[in-house]
């Protein structure tokens, strides 16, 4: 375990992650739509970033030297909205407006409505390129902000993902960290059955990334990898985070069924009970 991980309040991170998972269930249930599976898989990664790694200040959300997080798999919006709310960037009560007409919480993360979102995404394969652009900008202006991009594994089938990754490696962007939510499933099934992306760590290495392969639900491992990324010089870092789709809700785990399907009322209640209890309305 790294020094950073040793001093971090791991229990607090775990507790926060559990609250975020409950929010994801409540939000997608209330919306009658959305993407619970890939939101639950990415929750620990988002929690580690928003509550530990990123330099962010709710009092100054547009501080020039803030770190940037681009959620390239923009359909995992509920996880990021909840983390930002619980970090103080928006009211927690607002979470239940997800996907409703007039809400700031669009189905895919949207900076037009919610400016704390660094880049609007939704169509896969574009967030990573915007992150590369932001990292290049920081280098040009000698800024200290670090840039983080979260990718999906289905998203790694898309050509633009690799074009952008190639650029990040070519320009030796050591202020860029790419985190892959390797949850094994996309919309229609197992990525390896549809269009295999393995060996994925070797691909990142070949694209000139310092590459780490970790358990994406193990906070000491996540914090340690982020630590390594911060201290790596001369090239970007890729973290292959092995995760479980639907993590934390037994019947949503390791299946594509809840990729784009919200829980029914009974399912939502069961999910909340498994996550430690709480009401459907928060």
């Amino acid at each position: 375990m790294s020094a950073v991980a040793a001093t971090a309040d791991l229990d607090a991170l775990r507790t926060t992650a559990r609250e975020i998972r409950k929010d994801i269930i409540r939000m997608t249930y209330a919306a009658g739509g959305g993407h619970p599976g890939g939101s639950l898989s990415v929750t620990d990664l988002v929690t580690a970033l928003v509550f530990h790694e990123l330099r962010l200040d709710p009092a100054h959300p547009d501080a020039p030297d803030r770190d940037r997080l681009v959620l390239s798999k923009g359909h995992a919006a509920p996880a990021l909205y909840s983390a930002l709310a619980r970090r103080g960037f928006l009211p927690v009560e607002e979470l239940l407006t997800l996907r409703k007409l007039g809400s700031r919480l669009q189905g895919h993360v949207d900076r037009n409505k919610l400016p704390v979102i660094e880049a609007s995404t939704g169509c896969l394969g574009q967030g990573i390129g915007m992150a590369v652009g932001m990292a290049l900008d920081q280098r040009l202006r000698k800024g200290a902000a670090r840039v983080y991009a979260i990718l999906g594994d289905g998203e790694c089938q898309a050509g633009p993902t690799w074009e952008a990754l190639m650029a990040g490696g070519h320009y030796k962007l050591d202020n860029l960290t790419v985190i892959l939510d390797r949850n094994q499933y996309e919309t229609d099934g197992d990525t390896e059955a549809l269009m295999g992306i393995e060996p994925i760590a070797e691909k990142f290495r070949a694209f000139r990334y310092e590459t780490l392969d970790i358990d994406g639900h193990d906070f000491p491992a996540i914090l340690g990898a982020l630590d390594t990324a911060r201290s790596t010089k001369g090239r970007p870092t890729a973290i292959v985070a092995r995760t479980v789709k639907g993590k934390g809700v037994s019947f949503m785990e390791r299946t594509h069924v809840y990729h784009g399907k919200p829980p029914t009322k009974e399912e939502a209640e069961k999910a909340l009970a498994e996550l430690g209890g709480g009401s459907l309305t928060g």
Binding site: G33, L101, G102, A158, D188, M195
Partner: protein, 315 residues
């Protein structure tokens, strides 16, 4: 006047299997949305002729072109934003420039996508696809027309784009769709409502309201966007003297623009256009979104009255 609502996507899935039964060479591609597009029905029956390639729409389209250039009829499906948007230049060069026999059936066109929001609500596809030389473009108004359209596009060699809606839509036709022909769903001589896709049912509702006060509006379903039935349009212009267009697409570049251009060249009459203004969509209940973006029945009625007043048909 309008029947119960049915899924256009289900109709596509069922008809696609029938096309596969009829043509053992026919292949189908999808890009990780086969449950939503309903191509999975074909995939279950003919797994060896079904290629779910994952999240790679541009390459799905180029692969489809390659198989078509090898002599097959190829269907490729995904959401409209990815088919016409993500893969635009692949559709342009690999499919249209090559005259490849690729049939793109795109679901989730327009605002009726709902919750996914503005990034996914494709409002420009009919314009993009119509602008491609050699492309056939169809936007069915209901499930029977969807089935007929899918049959029709297998009856010729060459590219086609079919735009489907995510939401179920009322049955408004008997499925007697013919390529290049507008369907007259309601006779009338005071005004013509020219509509496409989900807005056809709405046009019929508007016509019914007008009928209650003695105004007879003709309703034309322009599912066949290209080839375009200029004859039916100009006949309507001559016989009714005013046209209101209704589309769930950008009003800048869609059916309304097409109708205005065609009439102004050949037989100018007043044209008013209902469509999505120069804006991206947003998340929300699909039907509330139509109202929010100016596609409500009330708004269409107001526009109809404007036209009728301009014609001196009412005060």
């Amino acid at each position: 006047m309008t029947g119960k609502s049915e899924s256009l996507r289900d109709a596509y899935g069922v008809e696609l299997v029938a096309r596969g039964d009829a043509d053992p060479e026919l292949v189908v591609l999808d890009a990780d949305l086969s449950g939503s597009t309903r191509t999975q029905l074909f995939g279950k029956k003919y797994p060896e002729r079904f290629f779910n390639v994952g999240v790679m729409e541009p390459t799905m389209v180029t692969m489809a072109a390659g198989m078509a250039l090898s002599g097959r009829t190829v269907f490729a499906s995904t959401f409209a934003i990815f088919a016409a948007g993500q893969a635009y230049n692949m559709v342009r060069q690999s499919v249209c420039y090559n005259h490849a026999n690729v049939k793109i059936v795109a679901t989730h066109g327009g605002l009726l996508v709902g919750g996914d929001g503005g990034t996914h609500q494709m409002l420009e596809d009919l314009a993009l696809m119509r602008g491609l030389p050699g492309m056939t473009v169809i936007a069915p108004s209901d499930a029977p027309t969807t089935r007929a359209a899918v049959r029709a596009i297998t009856e010729f060699q060459g590219p086609a784009y079919v735009r489907l809606t995510r939401e179920n839509l009322p049955v408004v036709t008997d499925g007697s769709f013919a390529l290049g022909k507008a369907a007259e769903l309601r006779p009338g001589s005071d005004l013509t409502l020219v509509a496409v896709g989900a807005m056809v049912a709405r046009a019929l509702e508007v016509a019914e309201e007008l009928h209650k006060v003695g105004v007879e509006a003709r309703v034309l379903d322009f599912a066949s966007i290209k080839p375009f039935d200029e004859k039916a349009l100009l006949k309507a212009a001559r016989e009714t003297g005013a046209i209101l267009t209704l589309e769930e697409h950008s009003v800048l570049t869609g059916l309304g623009a097409l109708v205005a251009a065609a009439t102004s060249e050949a037989y100018p009459v007043p044209v008013r256009r209902i469509g999505v203004p120069d804006l991206f969509g947003e998340s929300g209940d699909p039907w509330l979104l139509l109202d929010r973006y100016g596609l409500s029945k009330e708004r269409a009625l107001e526009e109809a009255w404007e036209l009728l007043r301009g014609r001196g048909k009412v005060n």
